[in-house]
């Protein structure tokens, strides 16, 4: 199950954080997302792999903590998408697919002329779209 998704701007400012748990753990998830930025930075600044991985937006598993797994995705405008999940066996393809859809939702949201770049995403449509994407996570490869 996806616990939290987040969009973080290129100055590492949170643009959108949504948790999908009932528990009041917003702070914890904020911390997790915030910490994962360190790993994103690390991945970006010294990429170990080169060649085909150089232009890859999907950063893969950032780090496992406690009972979560954190995945990252970096757009070419240095906007980061973070996914926190409790699933222990996650297929990379699923995550990739999720991020691709998430990215397009994000692009649509920021294309709104009323959206101020660098400000938090407040679009309700975006939130709805994200929650549908989150709900369908994991089923896409089956379907």
């Amino acid at each position: 199950m996806i616990v939290c998704v987040a969009v973080v701007g290129h100055q590492n400012n949170p643009l959108y954080i949504q948790s999908f748990t009932e528990a009041d753990d917003a702070l914890k998830l904020h911390h997790i997302v915030h910490c994962s930025l360190d790993v994103v930075d690390e991945r970006v600044n010294n990429p170990k792999k080169s060649g085909p991985m150089l232009n890859e937006t999907f950063l893969g598993l950032l780090y496992p903590i406690e009972n979560y797994k954190v995945y990252g995705y970096l757009t070419n405008t240095k906007v980061k998408f973070i996914l926190v999940t409790t699933d222990l066996d996650v297929k990379d393809a699923d995550v990739r697919n999720f991020f691709r859809r998430f990215h397009s939702a994000y692009v649509d949201a920021v294309s709104n002329p009323f959206h101020v770049p660098g400000k938090k995403i407040t679009s309700r449509t975006f939130a709805e779209r994200v929650s549908t994407i989150v709900k369908s996570f994991g089923f896409s490869s089956v379907a």
Partner: protein, 1286 residues
């Protein structure tokens, strides 16, 4: 890097050293206590040797030298596993103490993160971390599975005072007093013993008794093992040593007192020599000896292929037997223990190769035996040995991890060892700059003990900071985690410290949840420590938490207020975030020479006023004098930058307060903070002082606002609901001449905390539009005012100006001006922005009764003449010189208002006046009034003029009126043509047009008039004539008497018409005034209707249409004159019909006209047939007539040309022939007419359209050939019916 130089290396060199067990008699201790030391403490400082040079030869034949060495001394009672409880307490104490210490240092400043990064190397690991770690390592000492804590020697000390010293020596090493570890066989009880006789010199000289005992000892125990130590040689006075070697020992027990020492230099040197001798001559050789012996044993039993096979076989057999958690127990003389001892001895003597080989050997054995603890211990040592050898880093780490995991698997048994192992592991990783990995290891060390894990987490966080690239976010996160743990075990000070460090990471980021959490907890914890000031400081950071849920907001605010309450005073904070001040909304309104009649006037752009007032305000020497230059001439240059305000007149500040929370916040006592000084010099001198003590300003402000009587400050209270925004107007009224500066705003939140907002300091660059002037001076001047003595200020208003009006509404209004001050004003002038809507009347108008004054009566003649001069005065209206406004009686001046066009109209008026008092800084002022009028559409009036076909120079006028209102009914009353060269008359009687006399909402009517040129000689100035017998007014209401005809040449109407003309000016001008006609339609609302929001019902409404052109066909008009119907006997001959064409030139120049006639089959007819094909369907029934829809709104200027000859495009009709000249040319003089004869021949009876001719005209008057206007007119329809005569 030399492994020995790393922190871990040094730690190992210090911690894994031979242990010497010390056994002493009470009298020895007694002697030592004279110095405040125990015997052990006395010896300890001299047990580490930094520059000895001892050759060591272990298993190999190659000797090497040891330069540094250390012994660890323990009392016999200390040689046991440390008590966990005691150790815990001790550790806790360490943490608490360091907490107090660090906290007091920290209170002063929060480290900046950059600073921290720079100096992180030394400050990241506070000294107490090292100490704590050492203590943790010590907790795991004297474990039965390790051998390096086994005593290698025993030092027995007996005092010379003791009775029977020899027996005492024997007693000391009595088995039942020895530590259990030695007795139960874990440690080898056969250790080398050294006998020390301690002699206190204060008891007497050495020679007598002590030397006797020594000789006795030597004979009993052997010479080499007996030593004597003389102490307390200093006779009476204690000696103070420059360098206290016991400082580190003593600090634990009695930190503050000076060591009164009876030990003199000789004594100390003696101790030093004693210990060095003991080490180099006895302990190290002993160890070498033992290593060699053990090594031989091990080689004999375990080395070599045969032994290995044997060993394996033997162990296999044993495997099933003991399977306890610890594996089998090994006593000291088992081969496994001996291998371990060998390894540890080799390690301590730094023969790491030897150590490693033995560890490896034993490790597999333990593994096979499932002696996990021992296995882990060996693995741990292997890792350390690898590290010290600085080879195979991977191997070292693998060993450490293996050891760590194995210890962890043991559960609580291995917890301490796991911690120790982890600490060593982290040190190892740190030594190799693998900080990130070290951090994860620290994270793993965190056990069940909360306090330990707090410390470990904190250390982990520092590792993240130190890793390259530094991971500051993880640093922050782990600090927060660690702080949480500290909090759980009541180490509040540590918790605060970690949170504050974490703050440096999160500060300035937009991660508001985290920020809030950190600030909130710091605030709470400070509050729990009773440090409310700091607590409040942190709590204020989280007040504007709009992103939090409502309950959180309530929690935050509640806690905050509670803390504030606990401080016991009204707290004052310079940057209170609640409510939020929208600084961009800050607007200062002050009146210098500009005064404002209403707030809306203030909000109008300065440029608009400026352009309005341009002509009124006096310009001084320079032609381009503007406001600023004007001021600089009048006031001292130094002050030219500051603003001017008048004593007694309020300076207002508009500021917006916003409540970001979802809960209601009461705000009270909102006032401006002002500073007043009587002279300008004082202010400038105070300024430096002021900027210096910004922190103290709080008190300063309070004094200012309460005690000072030189200005008055308004106070506002309000309550802000959740998410509300309120605009508050605050004012300060200076009472005396001087300088006034607005510093900021203060308010009280929930009656408990006072917030300040300093306008300048916090926002040096902001976007305020002050007094509607673009600020040109430096920002801190914007809030500074020069207060000048009071001067008159006129207040003005317009009475009964409607907020809403229907278009065309005409009213008389009254302008009222008051001057409450006793100073006179003079030279009043006024200007109005929209003369189309508002014109200035004359004093006489005030007496007139409205709307009666508009009608024609006898008196009106005078007013007409009077009115004329005013018409052109669209510039500045000057009040008569004798006008005075003073005291109670207001000046009333009439104004005429007419709602010209629908829409929202802003009317601006500016009244200029001069101050009679010459000495004043301000010589003149302007009063600016601003009114908004909403004009609703009422009647839509349009005219269409077409030439009459009956008489030349006569025109048919169609008037279309549509009532555009939703509910109002109007009476269309009167139509007048302006100017005197047109006469207008109704075609039908008014009854026929308006049976009901009203025009209901949405209703439309049209009526027709004939318009003709007045017979009088036309003059170019239309407004001169005043004759009465003209017929340019037509009443559309039947029964009214002539009295009530509105005079359109009277004062307001004619003026408004003038502006309407200017407004409606079109490009038709070049045709001259004479061919255009202006109409005024006057209508009246019916009184019976209900008014919707109109302040009072309109009386008269006028609608003006100007520049309606009559000359739609060019400068010429013509008329074809002939019979309509005639009878002819076609059997006799064809019919010849004579026609006459009347031509009239209405322009001012000569026109050349050519009349071309064409037949149907000619070129002209062809044109028509094309049109016919295009627009008519082929099977048109004969006689079908195309009715052009009534175009009610627009007068089509080319009405004739748009009517193609399709009405009678009857192919069946036999053509007629123009039988006269096919082309006629003639010149027409200006304003003259001519007659041209025309003739047609008709061959059969029928109806003929005689429009088959073209008039070409050229204006000849102008000599300029190029710009000669010319045109072409198609003939109009003229139907002629010829019938067969019988």
């Amino acid at each position: 890097m030399d492994p020995a130089r790393t922190p871990l290396g040094q730690m190992l060199l210090e911690e894994i050293t031979p242990v010497v067990m010390v056994l002493s008699t009470p009298s020895v201790e007694e002697a030592c206590l004279k110095n405040g030391l125990s015997f052990l403490q006395m010896l300890t400082p001299f047990c580490s040797f930094n520059n000895i040079d001892v050759p060591v030869r272990t298993a190999s034949d190659q000797p090497y030298r040891i330069h540094k060495f250390k012994l660890r001394l323990f009392y016999g009672s200390g040689v046991r596993k440390p008590d966990l409880k005691v150790a815990e307490e001790q550790l806790k104490q360490v943490i608490t103490d360091s907490g107090e210490k660090v906290f007091s240092e920290l209170c002063t400043d929060v480290p900046e993160i950059n600073h921290e990064l720079a100096s992180s190397e030394d400050r990241n690991t506070p000294s107490w971390f090292q100490f704590f770690n050492k203590e943790l390592v010590r907790v795991a000492s004297f474990s039965d599975h390790e051998a390096f804590d086994h005593p290698v020697a025993c030092l027995l000390a007996v005092s010379s005072k003791d009775e029977q010293p020899i027996n005492r020596f024997v007693d000391l090493f009595n088995t039942n007093k020895l530590p259990s570890l030695l007795n139960d066989g874990t440690m080898d009880p056969k250790i080398s013993k050294h006998y020390l006789l301690v002699h206190d010199n204060q008891d007497g000289p050495t020679e007598s008794r002590a030397s006797k005992i020594l000789t006795e000892m030597r004979s009993t125990f052997g010479t080499s093992d007996c030593l004597m130590l003389c102490i307390n040689s200093s006779p009476d006075a204690p000696i103070k040593h420059q360098v206290n070697p016991w400082a580190s020992q003593i600090s634990d027990t009695s930190p503050n007192q000076d060591l009164d020492c009876f030990l003199n230099i000789d004594d100390i040197n003696e101790i030093k020599d004693l210990m060095q001798d003991l080490t180099s001559k006895h302990i190290i050789p002993n160890m070498e000896q033992k290593i060699r012996v053990l090594n031989q044993q091990v080689s004999a039993t375990r080395k070599g292929f045969k032994n290995q096979i044997k060993n394996l076989w033997w162990r296999k057999g044993k495997e099933d037997g003991a399977d306890s958690l610890n594996g089998p127990t090994y006593n000291f003389n088992s081969i496994e223990s001996q291998i371990r001892v060998l390894g540890d001895y080799a390690f301590m003597l730094r023969d790491y190769e030897l150590a490693l080989s033995n560890y490896r050997l034993i490790s597999t054995d333990y593994k096979i035996d499932k002696a996990w603890k021992r296995y882990a211990g060996v693995q741990e040592m292997m890792g350390l040995t690898y590290f010290m050898l600085d080879q195979s880093r991977k191997e070292a780490e693998y060993c450490m991890e293996n050891a760590f995991n194995t210890y962890l698997k043991l559960g609580s048994l291995g917890q301490q060892n796991a911690t120790r192992c982890g600490l060593w592991w982290t040190e190892m990783l740190k030594a190799r700059d693998l900080y990130k990995e070290a951090a994860t290891v620290y994270f793993r060390i965190c056990g069940e003990d909360i306090l330990h894990s707090a410390v470990m987490l904190e250390q982990a966080s520092y590792c993240y900071l130190l890793s390259k690239p530094s991971m500051s976010r993880k640093y922050g996160f782990h600090l927060v985690l660690s702080g949480e743990q500290y909090k759980k075990c009541d180490q509040i000070k540590h918790a605060i410290r970690t949170y504050r460090c974490a703050l440096s990471v999160f500060r300035g980021t937009t991660w508001s949840y985290i920020n809030d959490h950190v600030h909130f907890h710091i605030g709470q914890w400070y509050a729990s420590l009773g440090m409310y000031d700091v607590a409040v400081k942190h709590m204020t950071e989280i007040l504007a938490c709009s992103h939090q849920s409502k309950t959180t907001q309530e929690l935050f605010l509640g806690d905050f207020l509670q803390i504030v309450e606990k401080t016991g005073r009204t707290f004052e904070v310079t940057k209170l975030q609640l409510p939020v001040i929208n600084i961009s909304s800050l607007k200062i309104i002050f009146e210098d020479h500009r005064t404002f009649g209403s707030p809306s006037a203030v909000n109008t752009k300065e440029g608009l006023w400026h352009s309005l007032e341009e002509e009124m305000i006096p310009s001084f020497t320079a032609a381009k004098a503007n406001w600023l230059e004007l001021q600089s001439k009048l006031i001292p240059k130094k002050l030219s930058q500051s603003n001017v305000c008048v004593a007694g007149e309020a300076v207002k500040v508009n500021i917006e307060f916003r409540n970001p929370l979802q809960i209601t916040v009461p705000v009270s006592g909102v006032t401006l903070i002002c500073k007043y000084s009587t002279s300008t010099e004082e202010l400038t001198s105070n300024e430096n002082e002021l900027s210096l003590k910004t922190d103290n300003e709080v008190d300063h402000f309070r004094d200012m606002s309460s005690g000072n009587s030189s200005f008055l400050v308004s106070e506002v209270d309000f309550s802000l609901g959740g998410g509300e925004t309120t605009m508050v107007q605050l004012s300060v009224t200076p009472k005396a001449v001087g300088t006034l500066e607005i510093l900021g705003v203060r308010w009280k939140l929930s009656g408990a905390i006072v917030g300040f907002h300093n306008f300048e300091l916090s926002h040096p660059k902001k976007n305020i539009v002050k007094g509607r002037r673009k600020p040109k001076h430096p920002p801190n001047e914007k809030f500074k005012f020069m207060v000048i003595k009071s001067i008159p200020k006129i207040q003005g208003s317009i009475h009964s100006l409607p907020r809403k009006a229907y278009a065309g509404d005409l009213r008389q209004l009254m302008l009222e001006l008051r001057n409450p001050s006793e100073f006179p004003v003079k030279n009043l002038k006024m200007k109005i922005s929209h003369p189309r809507f508002l014109i200035i009347g004359s004093q006489e108008n005030a007496k007139l009764e409205f709307p009666g004054c508009l009608t024609k009566n006898i008196d009106s003649v005078q007013s007409v003449t009077h009115a004329n001069p005013n018409i052109m005065s669209d510039t500045v209206f000057s009040f008569p010189v004798d006008t005075s406004v003073q005291g109670e009686t207001p000046l009333l001046w009439p104004l005429w208002f007419r709602a010209a066009v629908p829409g929202d109209i802003s009317l601006y008026m500016s009244i200029y006046y001069e101050v009679a008092d010459i000495s004043s800084v301000i010589r003149y002022r302007t009063l600016r009034l601003h009114y908004n009028v909403q004009v609703l559409p009422s009647l839509d009036v349009s005219f269409q003029i077409s030439p009459s076909r009956l008489r030349i120079q006569d025109f048919l006028v169609r008037l279309d009126v549509v009532n555009k209102t939703s509910s109002e009914s109007f009476q269309v009353y009167q139509l007048s043509s302006i100017g005197h060269h047109w006469e207008i008359s109704l075609l039908q009687p008014p009854d026929a047009i308006f049976p009901s006399q009203t025009l209901m909402a949405g209703q439309a009517i049209s009526c027709f008039f004939t318009l003709k040129k007045s017979r009088r000689l036309p003059t170019l100035e239309y407004n001169i004539s005043t004759t009465h017998d003209r017929s340019d007014d037509v009443l559309l209401v039947p029964q009214c008497s002539q009295d009530l005809v509105y005079n359109t040449n009277n004062v307001p109407l004619v003026n408004f018409h003038h502006y309407e003309r200017l407004q409606q000016k079109v490009s038709l001008e070049n045709l001259g005034d004479l061919n255009t006609v202006d109409f005024v339609l006057i209508s009246r609302p019916l009184n019976s209707t209900i008014n919707h929001g109109l302040s009072d019902s309109p009386h008269v409404m006028s609608h003006h249409s100007c520049h309606l052109s009559t000359s739609s066909t060019g400068p010429i008009s013509w008329l074809v004159d002939g019979p309509q119907t005639l009878h002819h006997d076609f059997s006799a001959s064809f019919c010849e019909i004579n026609l006459k064409m009347h031509l009239y030139n209405s322009s001012g120049v000569t026109v050349f006209v050519r009349i071309d006639t064409s037949d149907f089959d000619g070129s002209g007819g062809h044109l028509n047939s094309v049109n016919a094909v295009q627009s008519a369907t082929p099977d048109n029934p004969a006689g079908w007539h195309d009715v052009t829809p009534v175009n009610e709104l627009k007068v089509t200027s080319n009405a004739l040309e748009t009517q193609p000859g399709k009405a009678l495009s009857l192919e069946s009709v036999s053509p007629y022939i123009w039988s006269g000249s096919s082309s006629t040319n003639l010149h027409l003089e200006p304003m003259s007419s001519a007659e041209v004869p025309l003739q047609i021949c008709v061959f059969s009876p029928g109806t003929y359209d005689l429009s088959n001719y073209v008039l070409n005209w050229n204006l000849l008057g102008d000599s300029d050939e190029m710009s000669k206007p010319s045109g072409k007119c198609q003939g109009y329809k003229y139907y002629l019916t010829v019938l067969q005569s019988t």
